[in-house]
C-alpha cells in the first residue's frame, strides 16, 4: 500500500500546513512525496522519539504532520512521546506504520506489529486506521485531512488486486453475503476471508465484514452488522494482531456492554512473535491459522460444534 499512500500524500503537498517526517525510511517508495513537499519533507534520521515529539511541536504551531516509519518504530519505540506529546495535547499528528501485522515477514519479529492496534486504541483521542484495499487509501487519507484527532495509519499489503467489490468506503463494510455466521475481519486480511468464504459450501458461507477503523468505542458497528449478528447468533473475528486489545476484544466488549453479544464466538488472531522459526507473511499467517485455509477450518469447526 506504500505506492497508493505515496500518491495520495504527495497530492496533499499543495496544502501549506502539511509537513512529512520520515525516520530515514521510504527509499524507492516516498521519492514522489519528497519531491512534492520540498523543504517540508524532513528526514529526521534514525531517531523516532525525537521525530514524534518534534512533530508534536510542529502540530502545536499549526502544522499537520505525517510521521512515517516501519510500524513498530513509529508506535512502540516512541510510545511515551505519542502518549504525552501528541495525545495529551490532542494534536493532529498522523503516525504511519508500514508493515502492519507480520508484514515484514522473514525480516524478523522486531519488525512485526502485533499489538499496535491495542496500544494505539488505548490512548484517549487516538484513531486507528487499517486500510483493507489499495482503493481505500485515497478515501482514508482524505478523511485524515479532516480529522482533528491524532491518528495511527497501519499500512499493509493488498492481495486482492481489485478483485473485491467493497463498494463506497466505510469503516464497516459487508463485502460478501451468505447464510452462515458473521465473519468479521480487520483490514487487508479481507482477501483471505473472502477466499475462505468462497471455498466453503454455499449453505454455510459466512457473511463477511471488513473493519478498517478503530477503536470500536469511537467507530461502532452499524445496525446492519448488529442485525446480522442477532439473526445468525455466531461471530468469528479474524485479525493479524494479538488477542488482547485488538478488533476482537474491542468488538466483544462493545457487544457485551450493549447486551447483544452472540452466543457463539471464535477469534482467530496472532499468537507469537516467533514460533518454530521465521518466514514470509504468508507463512506466518498459515502458522497462526490466519490464511484462507485456517479460516475455512475454523468455519467448519464452528458449524460442526453447533450441530
Amino acid at each position: 500500500m506504500r505506492k497508493p499512500f505515496a500518491q495520495a500524500v504527495a497530492a496533499l503537498a499543495a496544502c501549506p500546513d502539511m509537513v512529512f517526517l520520515t525516520g530515514d525510511l521510504g527509499f524507492h517508495a516516498l521519492e514522489s512525496v519528497r519531491d512534492a513537499f520540498g523543504e517540508r519533507f524532513l528526514n529526521c534520521g534514525i531517531a523516532e522519539q525525537n521525530m514524534v515529539s518534534m512533530a508534536a511541536g510542529m502540530a502545536r504551531d499549526g502544522w499537520r504532520p505525517w510521521v512515517y516509519s516501519i510500524a513498530p518504530f513509529v508506535y512502540a519505540r516512541p510510545f511515551e512521546q505519542i502518549r504525552n506529546d501528541i495525545c495529551m495535547h490532542h494534536l493532529p499528528v498522523r503516525l504511519v506504520g508500514n508493515g502492519g501485522g507480520y508484514g515484514y515477514g522473514a525480516q524478523g519479529s522486531t519488525h512485526h506489529a502485533l499489538e499496535d492496534c491495542a496500544a494505539m486504541s488505548a490512548l484517549p483521542g487516538m484513531r486507528v486506521l487499517v486500510p483493507a484495499l489499495d482503493e481505500d487509501i485515497p478515501e482514508m487519507v482524505a478523511k485524515l485531512m479532516e480529522l482533528p484527532d491524532p491518528a495511527y495509519f497501519r499500512l499493509g499489503f493488498d492481495e486482492s488486486k481489485g478483485r473485491i467489490a467493497a463498494g463506497p468506503y466505510a469503516p464497516w463494510r459487508r463485502v460478501a453475503s451468505g447464510p452462515g455466521l458473521v465473519l468479521c475481519v480487520l483490514g487487508p486480511l479481507v482477501w483471505q476471508a473472502c477466499q475462505a468464504a468462497e471455498a466453503l459450501p454455499p449453505e454455510i458461507r459466512p457473511e463477511v465484514w471488513v473493519v478498517t477503523e478503530l477503536p470500536v468505542r469511537e467507530v461502532p458497528p452499524p445496525d446492519a452488522f448488529c442485525d446480522a449478528l442477532a439473526s445468525k447468533g455466531a461471530l468469528c473475528v479474524v485479525e493479524e494482531h494479538f488477542a488482547d486489545g485488538g478488533l476482537g476484544a474491542q468488538l466483544l466488549h462493545h457487544l457485551c456492554l450493549r447486551g447483544c453479544a452472540p452466543h457463539r464466538v471464535a477469534h482467530l488472531c496472532a499468537h507469537t512473535y516467533c514460533g518454530a522459526g521465521h518466514g514470509s507473511q504468508a507463512w506466518e499467517r498459515q502458522r497462526n491459522g490466519l490464511d484462507a485455509e485456517g479460516i475455512v477450518a475454523e468455519m467448519r469447526r464452528i458449524v460442526a460444534s453447533a450441530s
Binding site: 509537513v19 523543504e39 517540508r40 524532513l42 529526521c44 534520521g45 531517531a47 522519539q49 525525537n50 514524534v52 515529539s53 518534534m54 512533530a55 508534536a56 511541536g57 510542529m58 502540530a59 502545536r60 504551531d61 499549526g62 502544522w63 511515551e80 512521546q81 504525552n84 506529546d85 495529551m88 495535547h89 490532542h90
Partner: protein, 306 residues
C-alpha cells in the same frame, strides 16, 4: 536615555481557559505576555537592581508556595529561578516560545508567571491541591503560556526543535527557548534532538541547561560522569557557553540574542537549593518538602538577603 517601563505585565491573561481541555493557539498565548524591563542593550544599573529585587521576591514566594503545599522539588526550582526570571522579564518577546523541559521546576515557572501578573496569589494557593490547574508538573491546559505538558524528562528539547523548525519553515523571527536539567541529558532523546537541531542549523533555538549537578538519587558525576557535560554537548557541533547561573548581570548578558549559525546551549552553573543554606547542594532539596523549622529558617535567610 534608556527606555524605562514600569515593571509590570502590560496585558493580563483572561482566565477563560480554566478547566477547558482545549489548548490555546501558540501565537495567541505568547502575544499575551508583555515585558516591562528594557532589553539588554538598554540595561542600566537601576534595571539590574530592579530585576534582582523581583527575583528576591520571587524566591520568597516560591519557597512559601512549596511549603504551604507540602511539595518537594524545591532545590531544582531554586537553581533555575534566576535564569527564568531574567529570561521572562528581559528577553522573551511576544513572538518567542518557552519550553520547560525540566517539568519538575514548574513551581519556578508559576512564580515567574505570578511576577508577570499572569497568576494571582489565589492561583498559587491552589498549587498541587485537589482540583488545581497548577500541578507539580506543567499541564498544557493550565495556562496559555505553558505550551506543553512535560515532566517525563527528555521530551522538551524535541518539542522545542519542532517549534524552531516550524519558525524556520514559516520564516518567522522567533526564538525558541528550552530549559532543561543536567541529569535530563541521560535521556537519549535529548541527543537525538540535538543532532537534528545541529543538522538544521537552528539558530533560533537557545537551550538553557540548569547544571546544578544533583539528580534524583546521586550526583550527576556519580550517576553519569557528567562533569564534562558541556564538552560532550559541544562535541555535537553546537555552541556551548558556561554562564554563572545566579549572577543577574551575567545572565542578562548571556541571554541576550547574538547572531549565530546554529543552536546555542547555555550551561547555567547553578546551585541546587540556591539561597537556602541548609538545602544548597544537598540531595534532600530534590524531593523533600520543607519542615516547619526549615521554613522559618528559610524565611529568615531570604529576609536577610532583602
Amino acid at each position: 536615555m534608556s527606555r524605562r517601563v514600569d515593571f509590570e505585565a502590560l496585558v493580563f491573561f483572561p482566565h477563560g481557559l480554566v478547566g477547558s481541555l482545549e489548548i490555546a493557539p501558540l501565537g495567541v498565548s505568547l502575544a499575551l505576555v508583555r515585558i516591562g524591563i528594557p532589553p539588554k542593550n538598554e540595561m542600566t544599573t537601576d534595571t539590574i537592581v530592579q530585576i534582582s529585587d523581583r527575583i528576591r521576591q520571587a524566591r520568597q514566594r516560591l519557597v512559601r508556595m512549596h511549603y504551604e503545599a507540602g511539595i518537594g522539588h524545591l532545590g531544582g526550582n531554586l537553581s533555575c529561578l534566576d535564569a527564568m526570571m531574567v529570561l521572562h522579564h528581559t528577553v522573551l518577546r511576544p513572538e518567542d516560545a518557552f519550553v520547560l523541559s525540566k517539568g519538575h521546576s514548574v513551581g519556578a515557572y508559576y512564580i515567574v508567571l505570578w511576577s508577570l501578573g499572569l497568576l494571582s496569589d489565589a492561583d498559587l494557593k491552589t498549587f498541587c491541591r485537589d482540583g488545581t490547574r497548577l500541578p507539580g508538573h506543567p499541564s498544557c491546559h493550565a495556562q496559555p503560556e505553558i505550551l506543553f505538558s512535560t515532566g517525563s524528562l527528555g521530551h522538551g528539547l524535541s518539542l522545542a526543535v519542532g517549534l524552531a523548525l516550524s519558525g524556520k519553515l514559516r520564516h518567522r523571527h522567533r526564538t525558541v527557548w528550552c530549559l532543561m536539567s543536567d541529569g535530563e541529558w541521560q535521556e537519549g532523546a535529548c541527543w537525538e534532538a540535538l543532532i537534528l537541531a545541529r543538522r538544521n542549523d537552528l539558530d533560533n533555538l537557545v537551550v538553557l541547561v540548569d547544571v546544578n549537578r544533583l539528580q534524583g538519587f546521586g550526583t550527576t558525576e556519580d550517576v553519569a560522569r557528567f562533569s564534562d557535560l558541556p564538552e560532550r554537548i559541544a562535541g555535537f557541533g553546537v555552541q556551548v557557553t558556561r554562564v554563572p547561573g545566579h549572577n543577574v548581570t551575567e545572565l542578562c548578558s548571556a541571554l541576550s540574542p547574538v547572531p549565530g549559525h546554529g543552536p546555542r546551549v547555555l550551561c547555567l552553573e547553578t546551585v541546587k537549593g540556591h539561597g537556602l543554606s541548609f538545602f544548597e547542594n544537598r540531595m534532600e532539596s530534590h524531593y523533600l518538602p520543607l519542615t516547619e523549622t526549615q521554613y522559618l529558617q528559610a524565611r529568615q535567610e531570604l529576609a536577610d538577603l532583602a
